[in-house]
């Protein structure tokens, strides 16, 4: 089993100055063969866009008979490790990502960290997704071979093919095998069953990124708090992507971040829907797009919709009690409004 090294490696400045590159072991035919012979195990951190595309990525590798390890659910330890590894101004989800990535280093030969710049014609993702593989490499001192980082920077099929080639090539598979595996994985991913909702006393829309809401440590807590009072929740993920983007184009055409466009579309939609009693904007401290989007949504959508809303900002110091108090107060407000 090949194991990744923690960043204790001492770099040799002379060597770097000589060839202008970070030190990497020389690539010889022998090395390549050895690497092929070693068992490959791909690690995927369960954070950021894993919450959106995790199943697709996992199936892509398992279809190619490559063992995959997914880091476990977020714990306090993961958060603490991530906080100490990350640069202090990084957003909370990025800190979690680094914590998850570190937990995989000991048991995996490769890390899968895709660079997702854009995959929709009209929208971009935020800068941190475009730089994610570099962040991971710079934080842990990994070389290029240890991080599988396909570039996804376009919406055309050719770009997708290039990404498949990078990912399949990194684990020693051909482009053809990779494309077939991707196709099958995509089909399974598209047939995800929609989340089932039980009977509820009311419905609240949580507007937040999927990597915040689906993380049991962050948004999971809010969902559980509301569920304990018998309140059902809907999230932007429950709304069809196309419908959400169409809504955004109509009501907020200036938005160019893809994830924010999804949230804006969902906010407009849920603000209109009669069965949604209130809206909660959930964001993380340090999120660049949210810092302006929340203001925009508040002024353009929420203030005029006549429904109670709450803006919650989470950070690594957030206490459970603080969130609970605010969410409970918010629900009391919703109930009082409904009684009137």
């Amino acid at each position: 089993m090949a194991r990744l090294q923690l960043p204790a490696i001492k770099r040799d400045p002379a060597k770097i100055l000589a060839n202008g590159k970070a030190t990497a072991p020389p690539v010889t035919e022998k090395n390549v063969k050895e690497e092929k012979a070693m068992s490959i195990n791909v690690g995927i951190p369960q954070a950021l866009l894993y919450h959106e595309f995790g199943e697709l990525w996992r199936n892509f590798f398992t279809n190619l008979d490559i063992p995959v390890t997914v880091s476990g659910a977020t714990t306090k330890r993961v958060l603490d490790r991530g906080t100490s590894l990350a640069e202090d101004e990084s957003c909370l989800p990025l800190k979690l990502y680094l914590g998850h990535a570190e937990s995989l280093l000991g048991s995996c030969s490769h890390l899968f960290v895709p660079r997702i710049v854009r995959y929709h014609r009209d929208f971009f993702l935020c800068a941190k997704f475009a730089g994610l593989p570099d962040i991971v490499r710079n934080t842990f001192g990994l070389n290029a071979g240890q991080v599988i980082a396909p570039n996804i920077d376009g919406y055309r099929p050719l770009c997708r093919l290039g990404a498949i080639r990078t990912a399949a090539g990194a684990v020693g598979r051909s482009l053809l095998a990779g494309a077939a595996s991707y196709r099958r994985a995509l089909q399974t991913w598209r047939q995800r069953p929609p989340a089932a909702g039980g009977p509820a006393v009311g419905k609240v829309a949580l507007i937040g990124h999927s990597y915040v809401l689906r993380d049991p440590f962050l948004g999971g807590e809010i969902i559980a708090l509301l569920a304990a009072r018998g309140v059902a929740t809907v999230t932007p993920a429950d709304l069809d992507g196309k419908a959400a983007y169409a809504e955004t184009r109509r009501h907020a055409p200036e938005v160019y971040w893809q994830l924010s466009a999804r949230l804006a579309g969902a906010a407009c939609h849920y603000a209109r829907r009669p069965d949604v009693a209130g809206l909660v904007l959930v964001s993380c401290f340090g999120c660049g797009p949210d810092s302006l989007m929340n203001e925009y949504l508040e002024q353009q959508v929420l203030k005029d919709c006549g429904k109670p809303y709450l803006v919650l900002s989470l950070d690594e110091q957030t206490g459970r009690a603080g969130v609970a108090t605010r969410v409970e107060a918010f629900w009391d407000l919703v109930e009082r409004r409904r009684r009137q």
């Binding site: 800068a127 941190k128 302006l292 929340n294 203001e295």
Partner: protein, 361 residues
């Protein structure tokens, strides 16, 4: 039409002169100050970055002095800059009736031309084109003066004299109406600055200044960091220029001669391998270039929470460690104080000077 626009370093004076020459009424706003910052902070979302807050502040000052037309810039990309105008419009238009013009940096030349034609209907096409060319010429001359100041001041017996000469020359160039006059003025002032240099002195330590665009260009935001460094006898090289940027974004880009992205990508490898929006790639690329070209230290300056620069920070940490260079990271927000910054700069300069002495022994 009474126009106001956001300040950015020495861009203000030439742009104002251009508008006034075309008979557009400009509302004069004071340079960025503590009041601007307070005003901007009060009317901005808490988590917005510093350039957003300062530009909101200057625009509000302009509107309070009677402006009715706001000109802002925006650029699509991964960074927040592209979304400034949309959110600012909500705050600025509250309780007022204003016209809002947004110039897209991706097509700056055509947007600027169209705006000027609309704002100055009496001026001919040729006059508008001439004034755009003149303002770019002036801004590039100001870039050259600033670079010359950063080179000669640390070599002079009295750096303050060089700084004063540069400021005086900048004022002369901003008010000039003639291409040849801009050239001769630039040459004269540069020559004067050079005459203050001591002959045969040790070459001063060199520091590369990298980071976010606005923070590098607006001296109030970075608390006159360049002047503070040259006064302590350190040569400063700043890699972002107002005029160079305007030139690249208007003329070069318009005629398709320019691909900044490819150039900096080649420089930044292997620490950063993709464009991350804003100045992220450029910060890493130029820092790496300086590390390979004998610079003694790197100063990275950006607004608190800046998305591209946070990505760049991960890379810069390793660049500094691999090349054994001192790195000072300055993350600036509205609470930054001049004294706190000065202390850190002095400590950094001491560190560089001591390191150089150690290597000379």
């Amino acid at each position: 039409m009474r126009v106001t626009y956001a300040h950015m370093g020495y861009m203000n004076a030439p742009v104002r002169h251009m508008l006034e020459s075309l008979a557009v009424e400009v509302v004069a706003t004071p340079p960025v100050s503590e009041r601007t910052m307070e005003l901007g902070t009060r009317y901005s979302p808490e988590g917005a970055c510093l350039p957003y807050k300062i530009s909101t502040g200057t625009l509000l000052e302009g509107l309070d002095s009677g402006a009715d037309t706001v000109v802002t810039m925006c650029g699509a990309g991964k960074c927040r800059f592209g979304f400034y105008g949309t959110v600012q419009k909500i705050v600025l238009a509250r309780g007022r009736k204003i016209a809002f013009h947004t110039l897209d940096t991706e097509r700056l030349l055509t947007d600027l031309y169209r705006f000027l034609r609309q704002a100055a209907p009496a001026a001919g096409r040729l006059a508008v084109a001439k004034h755009i060319a003149l303002v770019i010429k002036k801004l590039r001359a100001l870039d050259a003066l600033n670079d010359a100041k950063n080179f000669y001041a640390p070599r002079a017996a009295n750096p303050q004299r060089v700084i004063d000469t540069c400021d005086y020359g900048a004022g002369e160039i901003a008010g000039s109406d003639d291409f040849a006059e801009v050239n001769s003025c630039r040459e004269l002032v540069t020559e004067t600055m050079r005459s203050y240099c001591r002959a045969g002195a040790h070459p001063p330590p060199k520091v590369a200044l990298v980071g976010e665009f606005y923070l590098l260009l607006e001296p109030y935001a970075n608390r006159w960091i360049e002047n503070a460094l040259v006064r302590q006898g350190v040569e400063v090289k700043r890699f972002v220029h107002t005029g160079g940027w305007a030139y690249a974004k208007t003329l070069l880009q318009f005629f398709g001669f320019f691909d900044e992205e490819r150039e900096y990508l080649a420089q930044a490898r292997p620490y950063l391998n993709h464009h991350v929006g804003g100045e992220g790639l450029k910060s890493v690329g130029t820092a790496l270039w300086s590390a390979r070209h004998g610079y003694d230290g790197i100063i990275h300056i950006f607004p608190f929470g800046c998305m591209p620069e946070v990505v760049a920070r991960y890379a810069l940490k390793n660049v500094a460690a691999d090349y054994g260079l001192p790195l000072l990271t300055l993350s600036i927000d509205e609470h930054a104080s001049e004294v706190g910054l000065a202390t850190r700069l002095e400590a950094f300069v001491d560190c560089i000077k001591r390191k150089n002495q150690g290597s000379r022994l």
